[in-house]
């Protein structure tokens, strides 16, 4: 699996907040995609009802996951394809490498796939002498820069145009340009020959259709289609929870996916792959493989994080997250950033390493509000916080703080006295203009902004007076 930097989250977040390029990119990001989504949702009055159905359908699928996966495999075989099962990330890499070796592959083109990032496929292949070539424009830029994706659908969202211009100038050996269209044309030209020369094309899959034994990819660039079309061998790698019963069921999810992700009515290319090239055809891959990866997902079934398996990877939760919008995706330190990542990462790498992620949430609930399959992300993050506390992984200062507060809260008279004393002190500190510029133990707040001084009564004092007023 990919290297984990989640334990350094606090330091990474601090660096991210001071990164001028990143902050420029994020300023643009925060307004773009959420607004597009709102517009698309407004154009489809049935959107919320579709979300309810999608949630229920996913629940049904998960309850019968083994049955649908078994049926999917049967259908893939029937169509002349082959299904491979991978319990772990290492299994997945090994299986794909074996297929590549068997056909004597030297280069493989890749469509965008988060699961291939999760299992660390590129690294695995490179070490064994096979060159993986990322063809999604964002992933291509990142591969040249030896950088990691910072978003599950917009991987290079953290980069500005001048940064891309520098990278292309260095690697393409062409005159430097900051014209976005010219940069894209350059990448198009560079990748053209590689699409044709590749021996194997590896794509992800947004859904697996049990009815027909098909995988489907959803893209805007068309790189995924060229990847799965031109080489002699197509390998689709996918996680097990992506199976859906029928094409009708897939259509339900497709109505939600693009609108939630980019705010498009529909993505440009929605392409189904079913088996290999037919006898009378002159193009298309001869071999069709599907690698189904578990990597810890089956352990989530029936437990506290069961609902996370409904996720269709639209990225809407991170597009709308104030924390993600402030620090970007790379600070999270592993493959999946934002709210969905804060739930998935502890599951996959351990709460001992990823404990800071579910804590980096204001619990504002926006992620749950926009989730197309209604995953209660704040609740799931809270589950992780509880587990972290139960396993004594929370730092001792936090534990002592919470314990003291807990004791105080169980002694209401003392609690109110303490609060009213604190209230008086803070009012005194903010006596000039109602604002406090420096507060002990709260520099994380006051370094950036003033703390407003409290009103002249605590809540309990005001509550008591109001109650008496009503009685009188």
């Amino acid at each position: 699996m990919v290297e984990i930097h989640s334990p350094e989250f606090k330091e990474n977040a601090r660096i991210a907040l001071k990164d001028v390029n990143l902050q420029k990119a994020l300023d643009q990001f925060k307004v773009g995609l959420p607004a597009n989504r709102l517009k698309a949702v407004a154009n489809l009055p049935e959107f919320d009802a579709l979300r309810d159905q999608a949630r229920d359908l996913k629940n049904h699928i998960l309850e019968n996951l083994d049955i649908y996966l078994d049926e999917f495999e049967r259908k893939v075989n029937e169509q002349g394809g082959q299904v491979h099962w991978a319990s772990t990330a290492d299994d997945a890499c090994r299986i794909i490498h074996e297929i590549c070796e068997k056909v004597g592959a030297k280069t493989v083109t890749k469509g965008k796939s988060m699961i291939s990032e999760e299992v660390g496929l590129n690294d695995y292949l490179e070490k064994r002498g096979i060159q993986p070539i990322e063809t999604d424009l964002g992933e291509y830029i990142l591969q040249l820069r030896k950088d990691q994706p910072s978003h599950i659908i917009a991987p290079a969202i953290h980069l500005t145009v001048p940064q891309v211009a520098d990278t292309f100038h260095e690697h393409h050996k062409r005159p430097r340009t900051e014209n976005g269209e010219e940069l894209m044309t350059e990448a198009r030209e560079m990748l053209r020959k590689k699409f044709v020369a590749a021996d194997v094309g590896i794509t992800g899959a947004n859904f697996l259709v049990a009815e027909t034994g098909s995988t489907i990819i959803v893209t805007n660039e068309g790189n995924g289609d060229l990847t799965q079309l031109l080489p002699d061998t197509h390998i689709a790698i996918s996680s097990i929870e992506k199976v859906v019963p029928t094409l009708e069921d897939m259509s339900l999810f497709l109505r939600l996916l693009a609108r939630s992700a980019t705010g498009q009515e529909y993505s440009v290319y929605n392409s189904l792959s079913t088996g290999g090239r037919r006898d009378d055809e002159q193009d298309g891959p001869k071999n069709f493989h599907v690698v189904l990866v578990d990597n810890g997902r089956s352990n989530m079934l029936g437990g506290d994080f069961h609902e996370m398996l409904r996720c269709i990877r639209c990225g809407s939760c991170m597009n709308n997250c104030p924390v993600y919008g402030s620090i970007g995706g790379k600070a999270y330190g592993w493959v999946y950033p934002g709210p969905m990542g804060s739930v998935l990462t502890p599951q996959m790498v351990g709460i001992d390493k990823a404990g800071l992620l579910p804590n980096a949430s204001t619990a504002c609930g926006r992620c749950e509000e926009v989730c197309p399959v209604r995953i209660p992300l704040p609740k799931l993050m809270r589950h992780w916080r509880e587990r972290e506390f139960e396993q004594h992984l929370t730092p001792s200062s936090v534990r002592t703080g919470i314990r003291s507060w807990g004791w105080l809260a169980r002694h209401p008279w003392l609690y109110r006295q303490a609060w009213s004393l604190g209230n008086k002190m803070m009012r005194f500190m903010g006596r000039k203009n109602g604002r406090i510029a420096k507060l002990p133990l709260a520099s994380g707040w006051t370094d950036w902004r003033d703390m407003p001084a409290p009103s002249n009564k605590t809540f309990m004092q005001a509550y008591k007076e109001k109650k008496q007023g009503v009685k009188g």
Binding site: D66, I67, W85, V164, D225, L247, R255, T274, S298, G303
Partner: protein, 222 residues
């Protein structure tokens, strides 16, 4: 073996053993029924209005629509569309619809019938359906219509008959099952407008890896 391990893990999570044949049948009945889920009202219209909705949605997705009244107009319509872009070469599929045409009418155009190659400027294909809901074309692979024609050339030109327009994705799937049920195509492509990417500076540019332009020649066959 990984397969057994994955299935055992799933069943442990679901707190049950291997499903009985009755459980299996009851679940898989959903696949037999192929029922629609909630269908948005948008495309539930008479066919003439569906065609107008298709036109509107495809245009919104940056596809271009050229109306023709007879299929015999296609060679010259294609030629004049390509001329505007300074293109005099075309590679096309070999379906009967395109084979029967008199391509010598497009006298300035050199027309090849083959799979696409790197460097091809334009291709012409048929399609299976037009889906009004989002202005989406449905194409599928077949000997007479190689899929590389849909993705490799810089410009993709498509013949769509008005009679092929349906309202929703589900209607297109039903139609595809009826015509291709036992010979399911290797690939089905739903295409909505030309290729694009927002990966450079979060600005949308057209023509990332697939065709930079999608031109739909809409034949009035009703």
């Amino acid at each position: 073996m990984s397969r057994e391990q994955v299935f055992a893990n799933i069943r442990r999570g679901l707190k049950r053993g291997e499903p009985t044949s009755q459980q299996r049948e009851a679940t898989l009945a959903r696949i037999q029924r192929k029922e629609n889920n909630l269908i948005p009202a948008r495309a539930q219209l008479p066919q003439t209005e569906q065609i107008e909705l298709f036109r509107e949605m495809a245009t919104n997705a940056a596809a271009e629509i050229i109306d023709i009244n007879s299929i015999n107009e296609l060679p010259t319509a294609v030629q004049s569309w390509l001329e505007q872009k300074g293109i005099n070469q075309l590679v096309r599929g070999s379906s009967p619809d395109l084979e029967q045409l008199d391509w010598s009418q497009a006298e300035n155009l050199s027309v090849d019938t083959r799979v696409a190659q790197v460097g091809d400027r334009a291709s012409l294909t048929i399609c299976f359906a037009g889906i009004a809901e989002t202005g989406t074309l449905m194409l599928h692979s077949q000997a007479e219509s190689p899929t590389s024609l849909n993705f490799l050339p810089d410009n993709h030109l498509v013949l769509l008959r008005k009679s092929q327009v349906v309202g929703i994705y589900e209607d297109a799937w039903k139609k595809l099952r009826e015509t291709r049920g036992n010979h399911w195509p290797r690939t089905v492509n739903m295409i909505t407008g030309p290729s694009r990417s927002g990966d450079i500076g979060q600005t949308l540019y057209m023509g990332a890896h697939g065709p930079c332009d999608l031109a739909i020649f809409m034949l009035d066959d009703l």
